[in-house]
């Protein structure tokens, strides 16, 4: 009797103890922290963390990563009910979310951007697409190097290609924008069909996945972000990149502060400013495209063929291109 009681009490007490200890750590101070939602890749996350940590915001924020589509979905669906106080996200998504939900505040600091941006957001990175290859796999399988995105549809690359799915990653959009501007929608479909056939199961959800697949030798050729491939090449991995004949298209990611009325956190705006002021240098090292006045890029880093899509980028255009892409997937 005594024993069982002891066991039970001990169990209950210890589990409640664990609850309070762990709960305690996550208690009130946690509530005051600024929640940052971001779709950014590792390098950008690290740069932003460094900027915040070195400028007095250490331990005052929680940075939560998401895939682009997940965060996009959350922004559109939850509006200002969203948990985040500050988001960094593909600029076109922020624009569509603002249009639909009026959820962001105008920034209260000045930014000297090269292009014009809406008052509620400021760019943090620009990313370009490129064809990437695993040089060892190419040699091993005696494959010729592709010169364009269209080439990825060639039958000789069967089961060797890895691309991303535009339904979940905006990197795929860079590929589709390139195809649509070069060959028109119908022409783009033809090419996409061939690429999807070659990719088989390697139609990935994340923008960095094709590079990872290429790096791991699961695929020989991929379409991904140029700067990431460049970094891999630099570090001595058997990876190289090719600026495709259709052009290097790019997307920017921006930061925006949520407007939650009286529940808005002052610190969120300060952190946004801090990121703009202090993260750019490190960001520019990883994403070598100038966004602000006074920034330059090394000629070695310059992509061979930068281009911009003729229509403004919106979620509606994305949806149209998603449907185009879906119609090309094999049954």
């Amino acid at each position: 009797m005594k024993n069982t009681k002891k066991i039970l009490l001990l169990g209950l007490a210890s589990s409640l103890g664990i609850c309070t200890i762990l709960g305690g750590c996550n208690g009130s101070s946690e509530k005051d922290k600024v929640v940052i939602y971001s779709n950014a890749d590792d390098e950008a996350i690290t740069a932003m963390k460094h900027a915040l940590d070195n400028n007095g915001f250490k331990d005052q924020y929680i940075l939560q990563s998401f895939g682009t589509s997940e965060l996009g979905g959350k922004l559109l669906a939850e509006g200002s009910n969203i948990e985040a106080d500050l988001v960094t996200m593909s600029t076109f998504y922020l624009e569509s979310a603002q249009e639909q939900n009026k959820m962001f505040k105008d920034l209260d600091f000045d930014v000297q951007t090269l292009d014009t941006y809406p008052a509620y957001c400021a760019p943090i990175t620009a990313q370009e697409g490129a064809v990437i290859i695993n040089t060892e796999m190419m040699k091993e399988n005696q494959l010729p190097a592709p010169a364009s995105i269209k080439d990825l549809a060639n039958p000789e690359y069967k089961d060797m290609v890895s691309v991303t799915d535009i339904n979940s990653s905006s990197t795929a959009w860079l590929l589709i924008q390139a195809l649509v501007s070069e060959y028109g929608e119908e022409g783009a479909k033809e090419v996409l069909k061939g690429i999807y056939k070659n990719a088989g199961d390697h139609i990935e959800d994340s923008g960095s996945a094709p590079l990872k697949k290429v790096r791991a030798g699961e695929a020989a050729i991929g379409f991904g972000l140029r700067h990431q491939a460049a970094a891999d090449k630099e570090s001595g991995l058997p990876v190289d990149y090719i600026d495709p004949a259709e052009g290097n298209f790019s997307l920017t990611e921006s930061a925006a502060v949520l407007d939650k009325g009286t529940k808005s956190k002052e610190a969120a705006m300060e952190m946004a400013e801090c990121i703009m002021d202090n993260a750019r240098e490190e960001l520019l090292a990883a994403y070598p495209i100038p966004l602000y006045e006074g920034e330059t890029e090394a000629t070695a880093d310059k992509s061979g063929n930068p281009k911009i899509f003729s229509e403004p980028l919106t979620v509606d255009l994305l949806k149209r291109h998603q449907e185009l892409s879906d119609s090309c997937k094999p049954e």
């Binding site: 039970l8 762990l22 959350k74």
Partner: protein
């Protein structure tokens, strides 16, 4: 008697309130949402979902892969259970088989997918050992393998348990009657097992049909319904109404399968007396079953072996020097370490409150004289929680609690887990309480104890081992679940499984495997602790009853 039921009624009221607010209302709102279009109440969303390219295909795929997996699992589980009960393979091998069959329970399903990729993928561990890729892992094959591993424990538990209740004497009878081997096998083993085999099939089907973790990792372009639901809700262009429709469609086979299970319950054969007999010697049988079972468990273990390899080498597969840097990196990363604390906290709190809820509910149905209608309400709740897939509960919570004070809190995750896993713990508690002498409360009351004292002093001590079992069930399940929490975890309330989904986006497999190992070891530790406590309790009880006997 009046006095006794007052407390019971308080418990009952509390439980109904809990399930009304956190189960009935969210589910009704979900149902409502699926029928509301842009222009008022309509079937618009249903039409748009059914007309959409790929939905029918995904539904068909789900049915196909879930049934094939359920069939395979049931066959394998039968083989393992048969080896344990009907062959003379060494006892140690038998306990090894049992352990390996139950191991997958302790890991989240999303981990299985990644271990499959790293075992059978182009650069996988096993691919390298064999020198070539054994089969294509993305799509049907990968899902099948993942689902079979996922459902093996539950299927094995069911069949193994029933086999323990089959009287082997009938085998001798059958033999004496001159049956040949096959018909003896059919009559004395398969026939009495029929209900359980069907139950195993249905239970496995249900789990496969509603799981999200495995398709998230190895689904490839083979779309299943869980993936469609996720995309509708958290895809780039979300549609809540369509999401609600998909959830409703997912619910139908789930409800059907649980109803069939309820029906099959009646056909369960229970022999009242189990006689221990010596199995006749048959070396061929022992060898064949032994070897086949060994193959199966080697298969299961080898899929998981990779979890112990990849995080401990520098850069799989190019640089395979041993290193602890990935492990230390996880512990050095405040965010990841915080997630581990969150998981532990959530699991512990779920276990405490879940056990209280299950115990309270079981007291109402098994140890009270309240109106049958009230008891039926509790039974109904248990049945309903059993039929609703985790993803559907998560989604219903997302709809109902977005923008309220409980959004993105631990509270909501804990309540969700308590409700999601309520059914099994409740049944375990009820069975245990129902076995106890019905007159204890009355006797105690006559002796002047009040109801609460009786429950604490008499009923609870006798139920300790079941309480511990329930506690451990809730704890382990809360550690490994992803399907519901994926929709309701926030930045402050990330648990390990949702973090793994996030890490997947960045293909950070080292971290994924380190976190998976953490889950595994936590669960192993928790299970052994509760097992130890339960055993100790039983031992003290046994030694006491011996002491009483000697005294007499």
């Amino acid at each position: 008697m009046k006095q006794k039921n007052k407390e019971i009624k308080v418990i009952f009221a509390f439980l109904t309130l809990l399930f009304a607010v956190f189960l009935a209302i969210p589910m009704v709102r979900l149902l409502f949402k699926s029928f509301v279009g842009d222009s008022g109440i309509s079937l618009e969303s249903y039409l748009s979902v059914f007309a959409s390219r790929g939905f029918g295909k995904a539904l068909g795929n789900s049915f196909l892969v879930a049934s094939v997996s359920a069939l395979t699992t049931t066959a394998i589980a039968f083989l393992l259970a048969y080896t344990i009960h009907y062959t003379n393979v060494p006892g140690r091998a038998k306990s090894l088989i049992q352990g390996a069959a139950l191991l997958p329970m302790l890991l989240p399903t999303i981990t299985y997918g990644f271990s499959i990729i790293y075992s059978f993928g182009k650069q996988g561990l096993l691919t390298r050992l064999f020198g070539r890729q054994l089969f294509d892992i993305y799509g049907f094959n990968g899902l099948l393998l993942g689902y079979v591993i996922y459902t093996l424990p539950i299927s094995f538990l069911l069949i193994n348990n029933t086999m323990g209740y089959i009287d082997k004497k009938y085998m001798i009878v059958s033999r004496i009657m001159g049956d040949n081997g096959l018909s003896a096998f059919m009559m004395t083993i398969i026939r009495p097992l029929m209900g359980t085999l069907a139950a195993s099939f249905i239970q496995s089907f249900f789990l496969c049909f509603t799981d999200f973790g495995i398709p998230a990792s190895v689904g490839g372009k083979f779309q299943v319904i869980a993936g469609v639901l996720y995309d509708e809700m958290l895809g780039s262009v979300p549609d809540f109404h369509n999401g609600a429709v998909v959830a409703m469609v997912m619910l139908i086979p789930s409800v059907a399968s649980i109803l069939v299970l309820q029906y099959l319950e009646r056909y369960n054969v229970r022999y009242s007396k189990i006689s221990v007999i010596e199995l006749h010697k048959n070396r061929a049988r022992d060898w064949v079953c032994g070897i086949l079972s060994t193959l199966v468990i080697t298969g299961v273990l080898s899929v998981f072996a990779v979890i112990f390899v990849v995080p401990f080498v520098s850069e799989w597969p190019y640089d395979i020097r041993f290193t602890l840097e990935h492990v230390t990196a996880v512990f050095a990363d405040d965010a990841l370490f915080g997630v581990c604390k969150n998981s532990l906290f959530t699991a512990a709190a779920t276990a405490v409150f879940g056990t209280l809820a299950a115990y309270g509910a079981a007291l109402v149905t098994a140890r009270s004289t309240v109106n049958k209608k009230l008891k039926n309400v509790i039974e109904g709740i248990a049945l309903i929680t059993n039929t609703i897939p985790g993803m559907v509960i998560g989604l219903a919570f997302l709809f109902s609690f977005s923008g309220t004070a409980v959004q993105n809190t631990f509270f909501i995750i804990i309540v969700c887990n308590v409700i999601h896993f309520f059914s099994t713990p409740y049944l375990m508690m009820k069975n245990s309480l129902a076995k106890m002498n019905a007159s204890w409360e009355t006797t105690a009351m006559l002796m002047g104890d009040n109801w609460i004292k009786t429950i604490l002093r008499v009923v609870t001590p006798n139920a300790v081992s079941t309480i511990l079992e329930v506690f451990s069930y809730y704890f382990v399940n809360a550690m490994v679940t992803i399907s519901a929490v994926i929709f309701i975890a926030g930045a402050r309330t990330m648990v390990i499984t949702t973090k793994i989904k996030e890490l997947q986006y960045y293909n950070k497999y080292n971290e994924i495997f380190v976190l998976s190992l953490l889950i595994l070891f936590t669960n192993l530790a928790a299970k052994s602790l509760f097992q130890y406590l339960a055993n100790r309790k039983q031992k003290t009880a046994a030694s006491k009853s011996r002491a009483v006997k000697t005294a007499q």
